[in-house]
Symmetry: C2
Subunit: 224 residues, 2 copies
DNA sequence: ACCTGAACACCGTTCAAGT
DNA sequence: ACCTGAACACCGTTCAAGT
């Protein structure tokens, strides 16, 4: 019944934290975090769920490791980069990583035991801002603002009840259907004259807002 | 054993959607969304879990109702308000509501069947922007930017691994503990010279970023 | 050292049945 | 009309036991 009893090889490559984590991330990417149960993960690795508890203290320990894998995917600014282009690139890289790993959005900021990639990331971003002329308090402002925007955008985009452009029309239609015409005229207008137009892509909003924020940061940096 | 068999009253006030929703929101506020199981909710209402399925199609239907209750708590701009003060007030009101109902953060934007309070909210915000001189595309930009920031800030604040100022020092300490000194100097600096200072409150970052964004929106509005 | 089996205390949901 | 009991297919985790 299990993978081991079939064929010649009785024992596969043994479990390691790294192999478990890679499989766990793939599973969560594909099926969502709710599909990542210890039992199913074990099954995918050809092992009983309980074997995982030999390598991880508990599910939270597993998630700590998964989050650090996501941080490791994000390219860091090189020292010497201009703060603005570095922050722009990094914002896009973080957003992309979150869109690849939607399950990670609420988890990236909450680690009590951040891994090395996590700490390297924060250290590098703060260093780039400080080198770009931001004092400590302003670097904190900038980091908070940028990360709130990045995480919020990814959260919003992934939670929108439609994925493709085709979906949009259908969903928008059925959202307003139960209500009398003319009850929400501004909603109707923006949906029909903007959102449902061909070529609309919510994803494009990201860089508009990002550049507006970077403009603002440039201004307060100059004023200090 | 059950509440009904004890004392005189055999049947309590019967279930209604409204009463179930109010109880569900309170439970989720207090114990988190994971503590909101159909069984526990039933128990709190003096009823078997299965009774809830008479009033709600499934758990998602329940959550649709809970989300609309949160939207209903958020005061809307009055028509005639200046766009900037209206957007500022509304951003603070949304952020406060999300901090009161942390379980709602990922759910507010994802309803395929938005309730009336949800639609009224969106309709009102878009209307205020349009009346303030934003054309359709710019109103869409502004709304996306503001909501990404608001939801992202609430998400980040609630996910930070510390709540109180006392926590901060302890958590910061233990985060860096497993690593060699001087490995993350910028992290150490900002933690010790800023975050761990008395009077630090991450919550105060919200209005700084909000005003920077509103300044930016004012500028692009003027340019159009 | 590394993994399993059985068990415990949970989930959401369906469905036939009760009042 | 409104609710219950039993059942199904799941969870995370513990612990003693196997190899």
């Amino acid at each position: 019944m299990s993978a081991q009893t079939k064929g010649g090889s009785r024992r596969r490559t043994p479990l390691t934290r790294g192999r478990v984590l890679k499989t766990a991330v793939r599973r969560a990417d594909e099926g969502g975090i709710d599909s990542l149960s210890m039992r199913k993960l074990g099954q995918e690795l050809g092992v009983e769920a309980m074997a995982l508890y030999y390598h991880f203290a508990n599910k939270d320990d597993l998630i700590d490791g998964m989050v650090d894998l996501v941080f490791a995917e994000i390219e860091l600014p090189h020292s010497g980069d201009q703060w603005r282009s570095a922050m722009r690139q990094r914002a896009i890289a973080v957003c992309d990583a979150l869109l690849r790993h939607r399950w990670a959005i609420g988890l990236m900021e909450s680690r009590r035991r951040p891994g090395p990639a996590n700490l390297r990331h924060h250290n590098s971003v703060i260093g780039t801002l400080r080198a770009g002329g931001f004092d400590i308090a302003m670097a904190a402002h900038a980091y908070s603002l940028l990360d709130s925007y990045i995480y919020g955008f990814a959260l919003t985009k992934l939670n929108l009840p439609f994925d493709t452009a085709d979906d949009v029309a259908e969903v928008a239609q059925s959202m307003l259907e139960p209500f009398p015409r003319d009850e929400y005229p501004n909603m109707v207008e923006i949906l029909t004259d903007h959102v449902m137009k061909p070529g609309y892509d919510y994803g494009e909003e990201f860089e508009y807002g990002l550049d507006l924020i970077l403009d603002g940061l440039e201004r307060v940096r100059g004023a200090a």
